[in-house]
Subunit: 247 residues, 2 copies
DNA sequence: CTCGTTGCTGAAACTCGTTATAAGAATCTC
DNA sequence: GAGATTCTTATAACGAGTTTCAGCAACGAG
């Protein structure tokens, strides 16, 4: 749907300065990434074996290891170009600084849920504790983005001055990550992801806000609860199995 | 499938009621669990291979798979007997219903941090998304315990009536789990785990509490921040400076 | 005691991620 | 263009988790 095969999307600077050797490597890298995305989309998490990936990318088995280091690094490399998110967020104008935070969360979740096979695999790689690749994910840009949103909210007087913005962001991130994890393993159904995230964010932000913002945030908490309960009620309804897919 | 549902398999209190066959299985199970704990304590996460484990437990390689199903199931089985926690918590008397919640968190963290090798491995297994074993961890007892604490707090008028206790508990759990994850992968140093958890819990509970409890919870948020900043300051201090407690 | 069942053993095999190694091709340097 | 460097390729191998299967010992019931 997005730029699935866009090899030029990853080099941001000097295209002419690349030696031929480096250009070859970059092209092989792109082929591997492309093949990985395809394979994950086709067969899901389990379908991505390094041997199949190498064959699909038209390289030897050793090459992905030379260029990326490990399978997990390849999967995490897919996460890099989520700049789609920043584009979509840049187009957004909201006066309410807290509204901006909630919208950012929504956009992010929408992107992930639109391609479950791919992003479930990627988030599973995020929660992999085996090797030491967290620096890849702890993107400074991503961090800076959220910290900026919180700083804006603080400047607007929504977040209390004595609250540590760094730790506020971390706690929000905890909620987000665990909700993603629950989605990946199937505890949380897709349509509950956004409400659950909004509920958690509202709860934490309500704990960190100035008195005059308590009302709106409390309303958001209740709204999140209401949506979640509606979903659970629908799901608990047993016999209403009217999802006959014809064709 | 075969057995797979033997609720009190590890309980050695009732030997008479078990048939000899079941007793043998239970004893093998216990040996495997024991060997697993030993091996993890000795060599850490990576040192636990199924072949070594089987040899140490004095069983064949196939037996752990017969009795548990997978390596991950064995590691998660270690998590079952944290009844140590319930014992320690039962001895505790606190009038403040929120104080009880924070103390429960502290006790739990204390148990985990006291045996890092073992519990880092176990928590890593919790975050493993490969197979479908979440039911093992989503212990109904554990859930009921926390839900009970929150219900007590609600009865005492600390948690607002219109707040969903189920989702409040889930959001608290999100913070707890992600903090554990950050500890496992090394993002969060051991001495920051408890303050970070208290900070997150205070923030969320403050977002869910009744007006009269805002003050104490706000104080807890600030206290958590202060402890975290102290730790960061200590850590940022280069070591050539006299580290001793200069009076 | 006898027979059928249960389930462990031992060994082999399979898949997967990862590494090692030798050979050879492409690229850079002069 | 010749030599040196760098990287890919092909293939084998290792160790890991997991499965399979024949053989056999222990167990439960009659």
């Amino acid at each position: 749907m997005t730029q699935a095969d866009d090899p030029a999307a990853q080099d941001e600077a000097g295209p002419a300065s690349l030696s031929r050797r480096e250009a070859g490597k970059a092209e092989r890298r792109a082929r591997i990434i492309h093949a990985a995305r395809e394979l994950i989309r086709e067969t899901g998490n389990a379908g991505l074996s390094m041997r199949v990936l190498a064959a699909r990318a038209g390289v030897s088995l050793a090459t992905p290891y030379n260029l990326f280091g490990s399978k997990r690094a390849i999967v995490l490399a897919l996460l890099q170009d989520v700049r789609d998110f920043h584009d979509r967020f840049a187009h957004l104008r909201a006066t309410d600084p807290l509204e901006r935070i909630f919208t950012a969360v929504d956009i992010q979740i929408e992107i992930y849920l639109a391609d479950p096979k791919l992003y479930k695999t990627m988030w599973a790689a995020v929660f992999d504790t085996s090797d030491d690749l967290r620096a890849t994910l702890w993107n400074p840009r991503r961090d800076a983005f959220w910290r900026g949103l919180i700083a804006e909210a603080a400047e607007a007087g929504a977040v209390a001055a004595e609250i540590s913005q760094d730790w506020l962001q971390r706690q929000l991130d905890h909620v987000f990550r665990c909700i993603m994890l629950d989605w990946v393993v199937g505890i949380l159904p897709p349509d509950a992801v956004a409400p659950a995230a909004r509920h958690g964010y509202a709860l934490i932000l309500k704990g960190a806000c100035t008195p005059e913002w308590r009302g709106p945030l409390h309303a958001r908490v209740l709204e999140g609860q209401a949506r979640l309960e509606t979903l659970q009620a629908v799901r608990a309804m047993p016999l209403r199995r009217g999802d006959g897919k014809s064709g």
